[in-house]
Amino acid sequence: MAIGAFVALVGFSRSFEHEWLEVYQSGGTDIAVIQKTFFNTSVDESAAAKLRTLPDIARATPMILNMMEITPEITALTYGWKSDSFELDSLTFKSGRCFRDGQPEVILGDLLASNLNKTAGDPLDNQGSKFTVTGVYHGSSALEASALILPLDQLQQIASLQGKVSAFHVRLRPLPAGESSQHYLASAQAQIEAALPDLRAVPAAERASSNQLVVMAHAAAWGTSSIALLIGILGIANTMAMSVFERTREIGILRALGWRRWKVLLLIQTEAAAMGFAGGIFGIFFGWSALRILSKLPQTASIVSAAFPPVLLLEALGVAVLAGLLAGAFPAWRGAHLSPVEALRHE
Protein backbone atom coordinates (compact mmCIF):
# COMPACT_ATOMS: atom_id res chain seq x y z
CA MET A 1 0.00 0.00 0.00
CA ALA A 2 2.90 2.33 0.80
CA ILE A 3 4.37 1.76 -2.66
CA GLY A 4 0.91 2.18 -4.15
CA ALA A 5 0.67 5.56 -2.42
CA PHE A 6 4.18 6.42 -3.60
CA VAL A 7 3.40 5.52 -7.20
CA ALA A 8 0.08 7.35 -7.19
CA LEU A 9 1.34 10.49 -5.49
CA VAL A 10 4.74 10.80 -7.13
CA GLY A 11 3.20 9.75 -10.46
CA PHE A 12 0.61 12.44 -9.96
CA SER A 13 3.20 15.15 -9.24
CA ARG A 14 5.41 14.04 -12.15
CA SER A 15 2.46 14.01 -14.46
CA PHE A 16 1.53 17.48 -13.22
CA GLU A 17 5.04 18.71 -14.05
CA HIS A 18 4.88 17.02 -17.45
CA GLU A 19 1.59 18.77 -18.21
CA TRP A 20 3.15 22.15 -17.41
CA LEU A 21 6.04 21.45 -19.74
CA GLU A 22 3.58 20.45 -22.42
CA VAL A 23 1.78 23.79 -22.05
CA TYR A 24 4.99 25.71 -22.65
CA GLN A 25 6.25 23.47 -25.43
CA SER A 26 3.02 23.30 -27.38
CA GLY A 27 2.60 27.07 -27.13
CA GLY A 28 6.12 27.61 -28.44
CA THR A 29 7.32 29.50 -25.38
CA ASP A 30 11.08 29.57 -25.01
CA ILE A 31 11.40 31.80 -21.97
CA ALA A 32 9.06 32.95 -19.20
CA VAL A 33 9.82 36.40 -17.82
CA ILE A 34 8.59 36.52 -14.24
CA GLN A 35 9.04 38.05 -10.87
CA LYS A 36 10.45 35.98 -8.07
CA THR A 37 7.24 34.19 -7.18
CA PHE A 38 5.03 32.35 -9.59
CA PHE A 39 1.61 33.66 -8.66
CA ASN A 40 2.74 37.20 -8.05
CA THR A 41 0.68 39.14 -10.60
CA SER A 42 2.52 42.38 -10.12
CA VAL A 43 4.64 42.65 -13.24
CA ASP A 44 4.03 45.90 -15.06
CA GLU A 45 2.38 45.10 -18.42
CA SER A 46 4.18 48.01 -20.07
CA ALA A 47 7.46 46.08 -19.87
CA ALA A 48 6.25 44.08 -22.87
CA ALA A 49 7.12 46.99 -25.15
CA LYS A 50 10.71 47.00 -23.90
CA LEU A 51 10.97 43.21 -24.34
CA ARG A 52 9.86 43.43 -27.95
CA THR A 53 12.73 45.79 -28.78
CA LEU A 54 15.37 43.21 -27.80
CA PRO A 55 17.13 41.76 -30.85
CA ASP A 56 16.66 38.02 -30.15
CA ILE A 57 12.99 38.25 -29.22
CA ALA A 58 10.42 37.45 -31.89
CA ARG A 59 7.28 37.66 -29.77
CA ALA A 60 6.58 38.63 -26.16
CA THR A 61 3.10 38.23 -24.83
CA PRO A 62 1.83 39.29 -21.41
CA MET A 63 -0.33 36.82 -19.53
CA ILE A 64 -2.04 36.20 -16.21
CA LEU A 65 -2.35 32.78 -14.66
CA ASN A 66 -4.78 32.11 -11.86
CA MET A 67 -7.09 29.52 -10.38
CA MET A 68 -10.75 30.45 -10.36
CA GLU A 69 -13.79 28.80 -8.91
CA ILE A 70 -16.22 28.42 -11.80
CA THR A 71 -18.80 26.38 -9.88
CA PRO A 72 -18.68 25.19 -6.27
CA GLU A 73 -17.42 21.84 -7.60
CA ILE A 74 -15.05 23.02 -10.31
CA THR A 75 -12.04 25.24 -9.91
CA ALA A 76 -10.25 25.83 -13.19
CA LEU A 77 -6.88 27.07 -14.25
CA THR A 78 -7.60 30.47 -15.75
CA TYR A 79 -5.42 32.24 -18.30
CA GLY A 80 -5.64 35.85 -19.35
CA TRP A 81 -4.16 36.25 -22.81
CA LYS A 82 -4.34 38.83 -25.54
CA SER A 83 -6.24 37.66 -28.61
CA ASP A 84 -3.06 37.96 -30.70
CA SER A 85 -0.99 35.88 -28.27
CA PHE A 86 1.20 33.37 -30.13
CA GLU A 87 0.22 30.67 -27.66
CA LEU A 88 -3.33 30.66 -28.95
CA ASP A 89 -1.97 29.41 -32.28
CA SER A 90 -1.38 25.96 -30.84
CA LEU A 91 -5.02 25.49 -29.83
CA THR A 92 -7.36 23.65 -32.17
CA PHE A 93 -10.93 24.94 -32.04
CA LYS A 94 -13.48 22.17 -31.95
CA SER A 95 -16.29 24.66 -32.15
CA GLY A 96 -16.78 28.44 -32.25
CA ARG A 97 -13.97 30.95 -32.39
CA CYS A 98 -11.44 32.75 -30.24
CA PHE A 99 -12.40 35.60 -27.92
CA ARG A 100 -11.90 39.26 -28.78
CA ASP A 101 -9.95 41.68 -26.62
CA GLY A 102 -12.13 44.01 -24.60
CA GLN A 103 -15.18 41.72 -24.83
CA PRO A 104 -16.68 39.59 -22.04
CA GLU A 105 -15.85 36.38 -23.88
CA VAL A 106 -14.11 33.18 -22.87
CA ILE A 107 -12.91 30.04 -24.56
CA LEU A 108 -12.97 26.69 -22.76
CA GLY A 109 -10.78 23.63 -22.97
CA ASP A 110 -12.77 20.63 -24.18
CA LEU A 111 -12.49 18.80 -20.85
CA LEU A 112 -13.69 21.82 -18.88
CA ALA A 113 -16.48 22.49 -21.40
CA SER A 114 -17.60 18.91 -21.01
CA ASN A 115 -17.51 19.12 -17.21
CA LEU A 116 -19.42 22.41 -17.24
CA ASN A 117 -21.72 21.12 -19.99
CA LYS A 118 -21.05 24.26 -22.06
CA THR A 119 -20.74 24.76 -25.79
CA ALA A 120 -19.94 27.76 -27.98
CA GLY A 121 -22.59 30.44 -27.55
CA ASP A 122 -23.52 29.50 -23.98
CA PRO A 123 -23.36 32.11 -21.20
CA LEU A 124 -20.94 31.64 -18.34
CA ASP A 125 -20.92 33.41 -14.97
CA ASN A 126 -17.40 34.00 -13.77
CA GLN A 127 -16.64 35.85 -10.52
CA GLY A 128 -19.97 37.68 -10.70
CA SER A 129 -19.46 38.80 -14.33
CA LYS A 130 -21.35 37.43 -17.28
CA PHE A 131 -19.29 36.01 -20.14
CA THR A 132 -20.10 34.26 -23.36
CA VAL A 133 -18.35 31.06 -24.35
CA THR A 134 -17.16 31.80 -27.87
CA GLY A 135 -15.32 28.60 -28.50
CA VAL A 136 -14.24 25.21 -27.26
CA TYR A 137 -10.69 24.18 -28.05
CA HIS A 138 -8.56 21.10 -27.79
CA GLY A 139 -5.23 21.64 -26.08
CA SER A 140 -2.26 19.35 -26.22
CA SER A 141 -2.02 18.97 -22.44
CA ALA A 142 -4.52 18.04 -19.75
CA LEU A 143 -3.90 21.42 -18.10
CA GLU A 144 -4.95 23.27 -21.26
CA ALA A 145 -7.86 20.92 -21.83
CA SER A 146 -9.33 21.89 -18.50
CA ALA A 147 -8.46 25.58 -18.59
CA LEU A 148 -10.50 28.66 -19.20
CA ILE A 149 -8.94 31.46 -21.28
CA LEU A 150 -10.29 34.98 -21.44
CA PRO A 151 -9.01 38.31 -22.70
CA LEU A 152 -6.20 39.67 -20.58
CA ASP A 153 -8.01 42.95 -20.00
CA GLN A 154 -11.15 41.13 -18.82
CA LEU A 155 -9.19 39.07 -16.32
CA GLN A 156 -7.35 42.18 -15.12
CA GLN A 157 -10.72 43.84 -14.62
CA ILE A 158 -12.42 41.07 -12.63
CA ALA A 159 -9.27 40.51 -10.57
CA SER A 160 -8.66 44.26 -10.05
CA LEU A 161 -5.22 43.92 -11.61
CA GLN A 162 -5.34 46.64 -14.24
CA GLY A 163 -1.97 47.08 -15.91
CA LYS A 164 -0.49 44.09 -14.14
CA VAL A 165 0.41 40.64 -15.45
CA SER A 166 1.88 37.42 -14.03
CA ALA A 167 4.53 36.91 -16.69
CA PHE A 168 5.60 37.47 -20.26
CA HIS A 169 5.93 34.44 -22.45
CA VAL A 170 8.70 34.97 -24.94
CA ARG A 171 9.37 33.27 -28.25
CA LEU A 172 12.86 33.75 -29.59
CA ARG A 173 13.82 34.38 -33.20
CA PRO A 174 15.02 31.29 -35.11
CA LEU A 175 18.36 29.99 -33.95
CA PRO A 176 21.14 31.72 -35.90
CA ALA A 177 23.31 29.38 -37.99
CA GLY A 178 26.32 28.04 -36.15
CA GLU A 179 25.05 28.91 -32.68
CA SER A 180 24.09 26.32 -30.07
CA SER A 181 20.54 26.50 -28.73
CA GLN A 182 21.84 26.49 -25.18
CA HIS A 183 24.11 29.44 -25.82
CA TYR A 184 21.38 31.27 -27.70
CA LEU A 185 18.94 30.76 -24.81
CA ALA A 186 21.49 31.94 -22.25
CA SER A 187 22.30 34.99 -24.33
CA ALA A 188 18.59 35.87 -24.63
CA GLN A 189 18.13 35.44 -20.90
CA ALA A 190 21.03 37.80 -20.27
CA GLN A 191 19.58 40.36 -22.69
CA ILE A 192 16.19 40.28 -20.96
CA GLU A 193 17.58 40.52 -17.44
CA ALA A 194 19.85 43.39 -18.46
CA ALA A 195 16.92 45.27 -19.98
CA LEU A 196 14.53 44.48 -17.11
CA PRO A 197 16.67 44.10 -13.99
CA ASP A 198 13.69 43.54 -11.67
CA LEU A 199 12.54 40.47 -13.57
CA ARG A 200 13.93 37.00 -14.16
CA ALA A 201 14.12 35.24 -17.50
CA VAL A 202 13.64 31.51 -16.99
CA PRO A 203 13.82 28.85 -19.71
CA ALA A 204 10.43 27.19 -20.24
CA ALA A 205 11.61 23.72 -19.22
CA GLU A 206 12.99 25.07 -15.95
CA ARG A 207 9.83 27.07 -15.36
CA ALA A 208 7.74 23.93 -15.82
CA SER A 209 9.67 22.01 -13.19
CA SER A 210 10.32 24.80 -10.70
CA ASN A 211 7.06 26.69 -10.57
CA GLN A 212 5.51 26.82 -7.15
CA LEU A 213 2.55 24.59 -7.99
CA VAL A 214 4.81 21.81 -9.24
CA VAL A 215 7.23 22.21 -6.35
CA MET A 216 4.31 22.05 -3.91
CA ALA A 217 2.90 18.99 -5.68
CA HIS A 218 6.29 17.26 -5.52
CA ALA A 219 6.74 18.19 -1.86
CA ALA A 220 3.25 17.00 -0.95
CA ALA A 221 3.73 13.78 -2.91
CA TRP A 222 7.08 12.95 -1.35
CA GLY A 223 5.95 14.05 2.12
CA THR A 224 2.82 11.91 2.05
CA SER A 225 4.67 9.03 0.40
CA SER A 226 7.37 9.19 3.05
CA ILE A 227 4.77 8.80 5.80
CA ALA A 228 3.18 5.91 3.93
CA LEU A 229 6.61 4.37 3.38
CA LEU A 230 7.48 4.74 7.03
CA ILE A 231 4.31 2.87 7.96
CA GLY A 232 5.18 0.27 5.31
CA ILE A 233 8.71 -0.08 6.67
CA LEU A 234 7.35 -0.60 10.18
CA GLY A 235 4.99 -3.26 8.80
CA ILE A 236 7.79 -5.14 7.03
CA ALA A 237 10.06 -4.73 10.07
CA ASN A 238 7.36 -6.29 12.25
CA THR A 239 6.89 -9.15 9.79
CA MET A 240 10.65 -9.72 9.55
CA ALA A 241 11.07 -9.55 13.33
CA MET A 242 8.31 -12.17 13.73
CA SER A 243 9.84 -14.27 10.98
CA VAL A 244 13.29 -14.15 12.60
CA PHE A 245 11.77 -14.94 16.00
CA GLU A 246 9.79 -17.88 14.65
CA ARG A 247 12.86 -19.23 12.85
CA THR A 248 15.33 -18.68 15.67
CA ARG A 249 16.12 -22.40 15.82
CA GLU A 250 16.64 -22.57 12.05
CA ILE A 251 19.07 -19.66 12.31
CA GLY A 252 20.79 -21.54 15.13
CA ILE A 253 21.08 -24.60 12.88
CA LEU A 254 22.67 -22.52 10.13
CA ARG A 255 25.12 -20.98 12.58
CA ALA A 256 25.88 -24.40 14.07
CA LEU A 257 26.63 -25.72 10.58
CA GLY A 258 29.21 -22.99 10.09
CA TRP A 259 27.24 -20.29 8.31
CA ARG A 260 28.93 -16.97 8.99
CA ARG A 261 27.04 -14.06 10.50
CA TRP A 262 27.14 -12.07 7.25
CA LYS A 263 25.67 -15.01 5.37
CA VAL A 264 22.75 -15.27 7.80
CA LEU A 265 22.35 -11.49 7.58
CA LEU A 266 22.38 -11.70 3.79
CA LEU A 267 19.76 -14.46 3.85
CA ILE A 268 17.38 -12.45 6.02
CA GLN A 269 18.02 -9.23 4.10
CA THR A 270 17.40 -11.05 0.82
CA GLU A 271 14.04 -12.15 2.15
CA ALA A 272 13.27 -8.60 3.28
CA ALA A 273 14.27 -7.21 -0.12
CA ALA A 274 12.18 -9.87 -1.88
CA MET A 275 9.24 -8.94 0.34
CA GLY A 276 9.77 -5.28 -0.56
CA PHE A 277 10.05 -6.17 -4.25
CA ALA A 278 6.86 -8.24 -4.22
CA GLY A 279 5.07 -5.46 -2.32
CA GLY A 280 6.47 -3.02 -4.86
CA ILE A 281 4.97 -4.96 -7.78
CA PHE A 282 1.54 -4.97 -6.11
CA GLY A 283 1.99 -1.33 -5.10
CA ILE A 284 2.87 -0.29 -8.64
CA PHE A 285 -0.24 -2.01 -9.91
CA PHE A 286 -2.44 -0.29 -7.31
CA GLY A 287 -0.74 3.09 -7.84
CA TRP A 288 -1.07 2.82 -11.60
CA SER A 289 -4.74 1.90 -11.21
CA ALA A 290 -5.22 4.92 -8.94
CA LEU A 291 -3.57 7.18 -11.51
CA ARG A 292 -5.85 5.84 -14.24
CA ILE A 293 -8.91 6.45 -12.10
CA LEU A 294 -7.73 9.98 -11.16
CA SER A 295 -7.08 10.79 -14.80
CA LYS A 296 -10.74 10.03 -15.55
CA LEU A 297 -12.34 11.89 -12.66
CA PRO A 298 -13.59 15.40 -13.57
CA GLN A 299 -12.10 16.86 -10.38
CA THR A 300 -8.58 15.66 -11.14
CA ALA A 301 -8.49 14.94 -14.86
CA SER A 302 -7.08 18.40 -15.53
CA ILE A 303 -3.86 17.76 -13.69
CA VAL A 304 -3.36 14.02 -13.95
CA SER A 305 -2.52 11.99 -17.00
CA ALA A 306 -2.49 8.20 -17.02
CA ALA A 307 1.00 8.22 -18.50
CA PHE A 308 3.30 6.00 -16.44
CA PRO A 309 6.94 6.84 -17.05
CA PRO A 310 9.29 3.79 -16.86
CA VAL A 311 11.60 5.77 -14.60
CA LEU A 312 8.80 5.93 -11.99
CA LEU A 313 8.47 2.15 -12.16
CA LEU A 314 12.19 1.75 -11.52
CA GLU A 315 12.10 4.33 -8.73
CA ALA A 316 9.11 2.63 -7.10
CA LEU A 317 10.83 -0.77 -7.24
CA GLY A 318 14.02 0.79 -5.91
CA VAL A 319 12.16 2.47 -3.07
CA ALA A 320 10.29 -0.78 -2.32
CA VAL A 321 13.49 -2.85 -2.15
CA LEU A 322 15.22 -0.14 -0.10
CA ALA A 323 12.25 -0.05 2.28
CA GLY A 324 12.50 -3.84 2.62
CA LEU A 325 16.23 -3.64 3.34
CA LEU A 326 15.76 -0.87 5.90
CA ALA A 327 12.93 -2.78 7.55
CA GLY A 328 14.93 -6.00 7.58
CA ALA A 329 18.15 -4.44 8.86
CA PHE A 330 17.52 -4.78 12.58
CA PRO A 331 15.86 -8.23 12.50
CA ALA A 332 18.71 -9.42 10.26
CA TRP A 333 21.34 -8.01 12.57
CA ARG A 334 19.62 -9.59 15.54
CA GLY A 335 19.30 -12.96 13.76
CA ALA A 336 22.93 -12.93 12.67
CA HIS A 337 24.12 -12.22 16.21
CA LEU A 338 22.15 -14.99 17.89
CA SER A 339 24.29 -17.41 19.80
CA PRO A 340 24.03 -20.83 18.08
CA VAL A 341 23.48 -22.58 21.40
CA GLU A 342 20.75 -20.24 22.57
CA ALA A 343 19.11 -20.29 19.12
CA LEU A 344 19.08 -24.11 19.11
CA ARG A 345 17.41 -24.13 22.52
CA HIS A 346 14.60 -21.91 21.22
CA GLU A 347 11.24 -23.67 21.18
Binding site: R249, E250, G252, I253, L254, R255, A256, L257, G258, W259, R260, R261, K263, S339, P340, V341, L344
Partner: protein, 226 residues
Protein backbone atom coordinates in the same frame (compact mmCIF):
# COMPACT_ATOMS: atom_id res chain seq x y z
CA UNK B 1 46.07 -48.48 11.00
CA UNK B 2 48.32 -46.43 13.28
CA UNK B 3 47.43 -46.29 16.93
CA UNK B 4 45.68 -42.93 17.32
CA UNK B 5 47.18 -42.46 20.74
CA UNK B 6 50.65 -42.30 19.20
CA UNK B 7 49.69 -39.18 17.22
CA UNK B 8 49.40 -35.63 18.61
CA UNK B 9 45.89 -34.85 19.91
CA UNK B 10 43.33 -33.49 17.49
CA UNK B 11 41.56 -31.85 20.43
CA UNK B 12 43.05 -30.60 23.68
CA UNK B 13 40.93 -29.10 26.44
CA UNK B 14 42.65 -27.16 29.22
CA UNK B 15 41.08 -25.94 32.46
CA UNK B 16 37.76 -25.44 30.71
CA UNK B 17 35.11 -23.61 32.70
CA UNK B 18 31.66 -22.50 31.73
CA UNK B 19 29.27 -20.67 34.01
CA UNK B 20 25.86 -19.14 33.46
CA UNK B 21 23.70 -16.59 35.22
CA UNK B 22 26.63 -14.35 36.24
CA UNK B 23 28.61 -17.27 37.64
CA UNK B 24 25.81 -18.60 39.85
CA UNK B 25 25.55 -21.78 37.76
CA UNK B 26 28.81 -23.58 36.97
CA UNK B 27 28.29 -26.11 34.19
CA UNK B 28 31.98 -26.97 33.81
CA UNK B 29 34.46 -26.53 36.63
CA UNK B 30 37.84 -27.03 35.00
CA UNK B 31 37.98 -29.86 32.49
CA UNK B 32 41.25 -31.12 31.05
CA UNK B 33 41.40 -33.81 28.39
CA UNK B 34 42.96 -34.76 25.08
CA UNK B 35 41.36 -36.63 22.21
CA UNK B 36 43.34 -38.09 19.37
CA UNK B 37 42.45 -38.24 15.70
CA UNK B 38 40.45 -41.34 14.87
CA UNK B 39 39.34 -42.02 18.46
CA UNK B 40 35.81 -43.00 19.38
CA UNK B 41 35.06 -41.39 22.72
CA UNK B 42 31.86 -41.60 24.72
CA UNK B 43 31.11 -38.88 27.26
CA UNK B 44 28.51 -39.82 29.80
CA UNK B 45 27.15 -38.48 33.00
CA UNK B 46 23.90 -37.74 34.79
CA UNK B 47 21.53 -35.06 33.60
CA UNK B 48 22.99 -31.58 34.27
CA UNK B 49 26.52 -32.91 34.70
CA UNK B 50 27.87 -30.63 31.96
CA UNK B 51 28.45 -33.24 29.22
CA UNK B 52 26.45 -31.39 26.56
CA UNK B 53 28.10 -28.10 27.54
CA UNK B 54 31.49 -29.75 27.05
CA UNK B 55 30.44 -30.98 23.60
CA UNK B 56 29.21 -27.48 22.66
CA UNK B 57 32.54 -25.93 23.67
CA UNK B 58 34.52 -28.65 21.89
CA UNK B 59 32.33 -28.05 18.83
CA UNK B 60 32.84 -24.28 18.86
CA UNK B 61 29.12 -23.62 19.35
CA UNK B 62 29.78 -21.56 22.45
CA UNK B 63 32.67 -19.79 24.15
CA UNK B 64 34.15 -20.86 27.46
CA UNK B 65 34.11 -18.62 30.53
CA UNK B 66 37.77 -19.54 30.95
CA UNK B 67 40.16 -22.19 29.70
CA UNK B 68 41.06 -23.21 26.18
CA UNK B 69 40.13 -25.68 23.46
CA UNK B 70 42.85 -26.47 20.90
CA UNK B 71 42.17 -28.04 17.53
CA UNK B 72 45.38 -29.55 16.15
CA UNK B 73 47.31 -27.33 18.60
CA UNK B 74 45.56 -24.15 17.35
CA UNK B 75 43.49 -22.22 19.88
CA UNK B 76 39.80 -22.17 18.95
CA UNK B 77 38.34 -18.70 18.61
CA UNK B 78 41.79 -17.14 18.25
CA UNK B 79 44.01 -19.11 15.89
CA UNK B 80 41.04 -20.86 14.34
CA UNK B 81 37.85 -18.91 13.58
CA UNK B 82 34.83 -20.70 15.11
CA UNK B 83 32.70 -20.43 11.95
CA UNK B 84 35.48 -21.96 9.84
CA UNK B 85 36.04 -24.65 12.46
CA UNK B 86 32.35 -25.58 12.52
CA UNK B 87 31.95 -25.53 8.74
CA UNK B 88 35.16 -27.34 7.76
CA UNK B 89 36.27 -29.56 10.62
CA UNK B 90 33.23 -30.55 12.69
CA UNK B 91 30.02 -32.38 11.92
CA UNK B 92 27.16 -32.18 14.43
CA UNK B 93 24.45 -34.72 15.15
CA UNK B 94 21.79 -33.61 17.63
CA UNK B 95 19.21 -35.49 19.65
CA UNK B 96 16.45 -33.36 18.12
CA UNK B 97 17.77 -33.86 14.54
CA UNK B 98 17.47 -30.11 13.82
CA UNK B 99 16.60 -30.47 10.16
CA UNK B 100 15.20 -27.51 8.23
CA UNK B 101 11.46 -28.27 8.05
CA UNK B 102 10.97 -26.39 4.78
CA UNK B 103 13.74 -28.21 2.93
CA UNK B 104 13.71 -31.69 1.42
CA UNK B 105 16.15 -34.32 2.73
CA UNK B 106 18.60 -33.75 -0.13
CA UNK B 107 18.44 -29.98 0.40
CA UNK B 108 19.05 -30.35 4.14
CA UNK B 109 22.23 -32.27 3.41
CA UNK B 110 23.44 -29.44 1.18
CA UNK B 111 22.99 -26.71 3.84
CA UNK B 112 26.50 -27.06 5.37
CA UNK B 113 28.04 -27.05 1.89
CA UNK B 114 26.61 -23.55 1.38
CA UNK B 115 28.92 -22.38 4.16
CA UNK B 116 31.99 -23.40 2.14
CA UNK B 117 33.06 -22.83 -1.46
CA UNK B 118 31.12 -25.26 -3.61
CA UNK B 119 29.09 -25.37 -6.79
CA UNK B 120 25.49 -26.49 -7.09
CA UNK B 121 26.26 -29.61 -9.14
CA UNK B 122 28.90 -30.87 -6.70
CA UNK B 123 26.60 -30.14 -3.75
CA UNK B 124 23.73 -32.10 -5.27
CA UNK B 125 25.96 -35.03 -6.22
CA UNK B 126 27.59 -35.23 -2.80
CA UNK B 127 24.25 -34.97 -0.97
CA UNK B 128 22.82 -37.72 -3.14
CA UNK B 129 25.82 -39.96 -2.56
CA UNK B 130 25.67 -39.44 1.22
CA UNK B 131 21.96 -40.18 1.37
CA UNK B 132 22.49 -43.36 -0.66
CA UNK B 133 25.23 -44.31 1.83
CA UNK B 134 22.68 -43.80 4.62
CA UNK B 135 20.20 -46.07 2.82
CA UNK B 136 17.86 -43.21 1.99
CA UNK B 137 17.98 -43.39 -1.80
CA UNK B 138 14.18 -43.49 -1.95
CA UNK B 139 13.62 -40.73 0.61
CA UNK B 140 15.71 -37.90 -0.83
CA UNK B 141 12.77 -35.77 -1.98
CA UNK B 142 10.86 -36.06 1.30
CA UNK B 143 10.45 -33.25 3.79
CA UNK B 144 11.50 -33.98 7.41
CA UNK B 145 7.88 -34.32 8.57
CA UNK B 146 7.45 -37.10 6.01
CA UNK B 147 10.33 -39.12 7.48
CA UNK B 148 10.48 -41.44 10.50
CA UNK B 149 12.71 -40.54 13.47
CA UNK B 150 15.40 -42.99 12.34
CA UNK B 151 15.30 -41.61 8.80
CA UNK B 152 15.57 -38.05 10.08
CA UNK B 153 18.63 -38.94 12.11
CA UNK B 154 20.19 -40.62 9.08
CA UNK B 155 19.60 -37.41 7.08
CA UNK B 156 21.25 -35.52 9.96
CA UNK B 157 24.24 -37.88 9.83
CA UNK B 158 24.52 -37.35 6.07
CA UNK B 159 24.39 -33.60 6.70
CA UNK B 160 27.11 -33.88 9.37
CA UNK B 161 29.35 -35.62 6.82
CA UNK B 162 28.62 -33.11 4.06
CA UNK B 163 31.89 -31.19 4.31
CA UNK B 164 33.94 -34.29 5.16
CA UNK B 165 34.84 -33.16 8.69
CA UNK B 166 37.59 -34.70 10.77
CA UNK B 167 35.48 -34.72 13.95
CA UNK B 168 31.94 -35.99 14.37
CA UNK B 169 30.14 -34.74 17.49
CA UNK B 170 26.92 -36.47 18.48
CA UNK B 171 24.80 -35.18 21.35
CA UNK B 172 22.47 -37.97 22.51
CA UNK B 173 22.05 -39.16 18.91
CA UNK B 174 19.67 -41.95 19.90
CA UNK B 175 17.77 -40.04 22.54
CA UNK B 176 14.62 -39.72 20.41
CA UNK B 177 14.73 -43.17 18.83
CA UNK B 178 13.38 -46.61 19.63
CA UNK B 179 15.80 -49.42 20.42
CA UNK B 180 15.89 -50.80 16.87
CA UNK B 181 16.66 -47.41 15.34
CA UNK B 182 19.08 -46.59 18.18
CA UNK B 183 21.10 -49.70 17.46
CA UNK B 184 21.07 -48.97 13.72
CA UNK B 185 22.21 -45.36 14.18
CA UNK B 186 25.03 -46.36 16.53
CA UNK B 187 26.09 -49.09 14.12
CA UNK B 188 26.22 -46.49 11.36
CA UNK B 189 28.19 -43.98 13.42
CA UNK B 190 30.75 -46.58 14.45
CA UNK B 191 30.98 -47.80 10.86
CA UNK B 192 31.58 -44.27 9.62
CA UNK B 193 34.19 -43.65 12.30
CA UNK B 194 36.04 -46.84 11.41
CA UNK B 195 35.80 -46.49 7.63
CA UNK B 196 36.73 -42.85 7.46
CA UNK B 197 39.10 -42.76 10.40
CA UNK B 198 37.15 -39.90 11.87
CA UNK B 199 37.18 -38.78 15.48
CA UNK B 200 33.78 -39.61 16.97
CA UNK B 201 32.66 -38.07 20.25
CA UNK B 202 29.28 -39.19 21.48
CA UNK B 203 27.55 -37.67 24.47
CA UNK B 204 25.13 -40.16 25.96
CA UNK B 205 23.47 -41.21 29.19
CA UNK B 206 22.95 -44.75 27.91
CA UNK B 207 25.47 -47.23 29.34
CA UNK B 208 25.23 -49.58 26.34
CA UNK B 209 26.41 -46.85 24.02
CA UNK B 210 29.04 -45.56 26.41
CA UNK B 211 30.41 -49.04 26.92
CA UNK B 212 30.63 -49.62 23.18
CA UNK B 213 33.22 -46.85 22.91
CA UNK B 214 36.90 -47.76 23.36
CA UNK B 215 37.26 -44.68 25.57
CA UNK B 216 34.67 -43.57 28.06
CA UNK B 217 34.85 -40.21 29.85
CA UNK B 218 32.50 -39.72 32.78
CA UNK B 219 31.45 -36.22 33.81
CA UNK B 220 29.94 -35.36 37.16
CA UNK B 221 29.24 -31.90 38.53
CA UNK B 222 31.21 -30.25 35.77
CA UNK B 223 34.36 -32.28 36.30
CA UNK B 224 35.86 -35.35 34.64
CA UNK B 225 35.61 -38.35 36.96
CA UNK B 226 38.90 -40.10 37.34
Amino acid sequence: MNDPLEQSPILTVRALRKSYDDGRIEALRGVDLSIHAGEFVAISGPSGSGKSTLLQLIGGLDSATSGQVFFRNALLGTSVDLDTYRSHHVGFIFQGFYLMPTLRAIENVQVPMLAVKSNAKDRAERAESLLIEMGLENRMRQYPNELSGGERQRVAIARALANNPSILLADEPTGNLDSVNSARIMEMLIGIQECRGMTLIVVTHENDIANAAPRHIRIRDGRVEL
